[in-house]
Symmetry: D2
Subunit: 343 residues, 4 copies
């Protein structure tokens, strides 16, 4: 039995982690912290957890996790980088769902996140937690940087093509769409129901923080230099990411189907749909699954890849549990093997 | 291991049944029928079931269920009453999620459902599958009439009060609200997204089919004559029922809290919230749980009870699984013990 | 040409007022204030007003309205009562869309709103702005207390019945449902899309501020003592109020239809649907209309009245424009005579 | 006063046309046809039109339009091409909102629409009704082919760039998103609330009927050969189209801002937002406006243009009214000059 703690349990990623940890057969839930809600029963904030979680939130202090084997950070960016070093020193494993340890270069991190990194010395030892790329390294890691939601959907869609040299890595486009839960649970006007429902818009079209993460990930995985245009959009729904990916096929490129099938053979959480089909975000809602399909419109040289995940599932908490399973040599699917709720 | 078949697997109740049966540890899924989709892989119609369900739909014939121990009917009203008799003769147990066997009196059934009953001789042996009332009878039944969604939410909210003689049973009001999935998956203008979203309205305010079911249920459970005004409404969301119940407290009535606590002690799927709280439908989404609270505004003689369920969960497929568990002497919570997906 | 100013232009009531004032043929828009957004172009905050409104928000000071004939308050409760007196002294007309001048008794106001009233001397001269009851007084008023949204829908539904002595005024129930815009535009967790969508719940079931307003309104209009149970609910949509009203018919009560038809004859903004029909909130979205129908289930003694409005229209800004039209002897329908956007 | 008839008044485009015609100061509404609803009062089907439209639907026959000056077709594809010839012979003007007369080449039409064209001789005289391109020709036309919704949003976004030779016309990408009303009002499973809400997916990624329309439109307007990848998506909302357009800037291309400003100077319905802003579909809901902005991410050679319209407004009925205004030499903005409803 693994004991797992959570730093930052009141956001949506935290809520999803708590739900998944509560039903994981090999996990006992340890401390769950919240600065603002310390002392409040968790099930009062999230009534879906009544009868499943009996703890109250506690203040975020390293001592709170004395009995833990692993600690998840479901905190805003800039928190984990201050507390993780102490936990690691005490011998705990850390899985950070924020962006603090995703980028290798502290200068790039500071450029995109707007503050100096508090523990840059850990950046090189952090393992980027995309199991379909880094499974072996994850198994040996002490600090895992859990990928961003967009970054997961986009990389899983592009990876086979770039690895196989099928497309021009310098001319990629990712037109991505996310449900509103990706924007978190901290109140703000743009994510009010009356603002975000019955509406659709792009945001951060001139530059989004997942851009350097995706480029770094694809470059490390494929050894090629990546040129990517990345435009995210807000969808009036709660959960789900849909990445529509455009790439230019190299001359003579054939058999995209085989490339995808071979690359993801045995990958339980990457589900390749029949070519020319259209994955739906709701088919993976609440799950750790990525569904992918692809099209070659009018038989031309442009390939369109469609990749869907749940931003809180494979895009955050689900993938974090998958990483934990790998880290503790459990069955990788443990606690994650359920169909989406539909409708 | 129980083998379970499903008649009518392409509607929303069918989809929820398939999801729950797929993850039930003691069930093997048998035949699933669909007149319109026979031959089509189930997972093609419901892509959330890819990797979980490998069968294709078959035609609805009694022979299809030769290897089954139990057959669920998730069909429109008027279907089960024709096929169930043959299945029962073959020794199968039948759990009917339609309305065919809910009413005792065939004349009342015909009045509300508009066609003659095809197997009225079975009405008296059918057990009304509300475990919180009929658990013992359910355990012995061969034919279970699974309650309607509104009927479940309303009865669970009123029952303790009427049993205890706390309120006037002749002056009840149930103002109920349902998500759109309660209207089924057969296309029609009123349930299109562009009609039902950004909208709210009552329907069937002059008389709804769950009215006689609720009155019969409360009368049989409490031995009292019931007078009920029942007005359902359509809520622009997928799942969930919220019943707002109004009753007049008898003179000297006190201690509503104790009455509720005592009545539902040990009932795993009835979750009493603190008095004066407000249950939310999303807290029970995808689950078999009913959450209840109550208010006595301005300390007056009118009591307001708030009762929420998932219309496809405790209001249909969840309760059907609970009934199956009882019928086969399994742990009543088996396959049903999960927190709601939130957000 | 009337010049109209607005105090508090950044909320949803303010936004709707600005839209209606922008297209009103006899109004020129004066100053629009906002403490937080002073200096920002209005059309930057509300891009739907580009090309229609050229002003920027200004600070809320009495001098800002020097050129105005009328000033609307679309502010949180507790603001108008401080600034309105000075504006009235300068000879301006004031239409307050907040609750500050709705209740006659300052003690009751303080009880429900939790702070002492800053200008209680004005309570008796304020005219309650429900034109279907107070049209003549409104025409002569200097200070109009624009009714609350729930209060409008509920009163218009009950009024004819109580005036005619058709129902027991001591045993009324109003089960009301509101779109989320009724909760305003100030960010808070419960009105985030990820909290309020795919969800339904009651709130303030033990006591809501519109309760004393409704009782006072019905008592003043009918001269009868009112007993009302009032339970509001939050609907996952942007605009709309649906009031489901329950009343007990007095012995021998007949001809509800005639009572309604006679009462609202000539009332342009009260649209009586055929009996036994079900009004939809979307049919009045963006308009100043109230649609009403009624049912007498199973021919019994309980009457069910269904009343819908747009909470920002007839429930706030639309009704305020209607009051302004009356106040300045304009055609009562001016600027308000448009069909709802559908779908 | 113009008398306008409508063929096919029960769909969403028809409903929007009726709303706009009802408030147009220079239009009197003539016959409105519906095969299925002939005899039913229009306001019974669309209760938002109560008090605005008194007619009942009639059968679609040429004689029904004897008193009309202009007839709008809001029918499924394949209807107008049969009835329009007779109306034109009688001297009426025809504005077809379906696709029947949009493509010049009958062979291309048949390839994409799957049936032979019934009046191919009219294709060459039909004027493509995009006023920002064809205003003069529209004024002289007898038969106007009103553009498709996607086609409008995409062409308005790309036009200035291609006309000015700023981008490579052979390497365009249009990633488009539409509200569900774009799929019409004929019931079908994919557009049920329970299927389309809380979901996002692409469709027709291998080829959509608006592709040849867009290419033809851009080629005729710019004289250049167009290569376009076009992927549409379904957004869980009622109204709105968001086109995210990607183009490769030619070497030395500068001053995108000036190109856009000059091209649309004086175009009342094309509203250019500040560069680097993000237009929202709700800001144009219910209007005839197109809002456009653009980004040049990381200062690279790829330009991103964001273009939003209401699919039923500038994408259908609004643009049809604009065309009618031009055709009858009315003020082009007449009946269309209103801000969007927000929120």
């Amino acid at each position: 039995m693994i004991t797992a703690g959570v730093v930052g349990g009141t956001g949506y990623v935290g809520a999803e982690l708590l739900r998944l940890l509560a039903i994981h057969p090999s996990v006992s839930l340890g401390s769950v912290t919240s600065r603002g809600q310390a002392g409040t029963p968790i099930a009062e904030v999230f009534p879906n957890l009544r009868n499943f979680v009996s703890q109250s939130f506690v203040l975020p202090e390293a001592d709170s996790f004395a009995d833990c084997d692993v600690v998840f950070f479901a905190t805003p960016n800039g928190t984990a980088m201050n507390l993780a070093p102490e936990l690691l020193e005490r011998g705990l494993r850390v899985i950070d769902l924020s962006a603090d340890y995703r980028l290798r270069d502290p200068a790039v991190w500071e450029q995109w996140y707007g503050l100096p990194h508090a523990s840059p010395e850990l950046l090189s030892q952090a393992v980027y937690g995309l199991p379909e790329v880094n499974r072996d390294a994850i198994a040996e890691a002490s600090l895992i940087a859990n990928p961003g939601c967009y970054a997961t959907a986009v990389q899983l869609g592009f990876l086979p093509l770039i690895e196989a040299g099928l497309v021009d890595p310098a001319a990629l486009i990712a037109d991505t769409k996310s449900g509103v839960s990706g924007a978190g649970r901290t109140p703000g006007v743009p994510i009010l129901l009356c603002e975000a429902s019955e509406n659709f818009n792009a945001y951060a079209a001139s530059g989004h923080r997942h851009l350097p993460e995706i480029c770094q990930g694809l470059e490390m995985a494929t050894g090629q230099s990546i040129g990517l245009t990345f435009v995210p959009h807000l969808v009036p729904m709660i959960r789900g990411i849909h990445a529509t990916l455009y790439a230019e096929l190299e001359a003579g490129a054939t058999d995209v189907d085989t490339i995808f099938r071979n690359r993801y053979e045995g990958e339980h959480f990457v589900d390749l749909l029949p070519p020319k089909s259209h994955p739906q975000t709701r088919s993976v809602r609440g799950t750790n699954r990525c569904q992918i399909s692809w099209h070659r419109p009018q038989g031309g040289d442009r390939l369109v890849v469609l990749s869907v995940i749940d931003n809180l599932g494979k895009g955050a908490a689900g993938q974090a549990i998958q990483n934990m399973n790998i880290l503790f040599a459990l069955d990788e699917q443990m606690g994650l093997d359920q169909p989406a709720l539909l409708p």
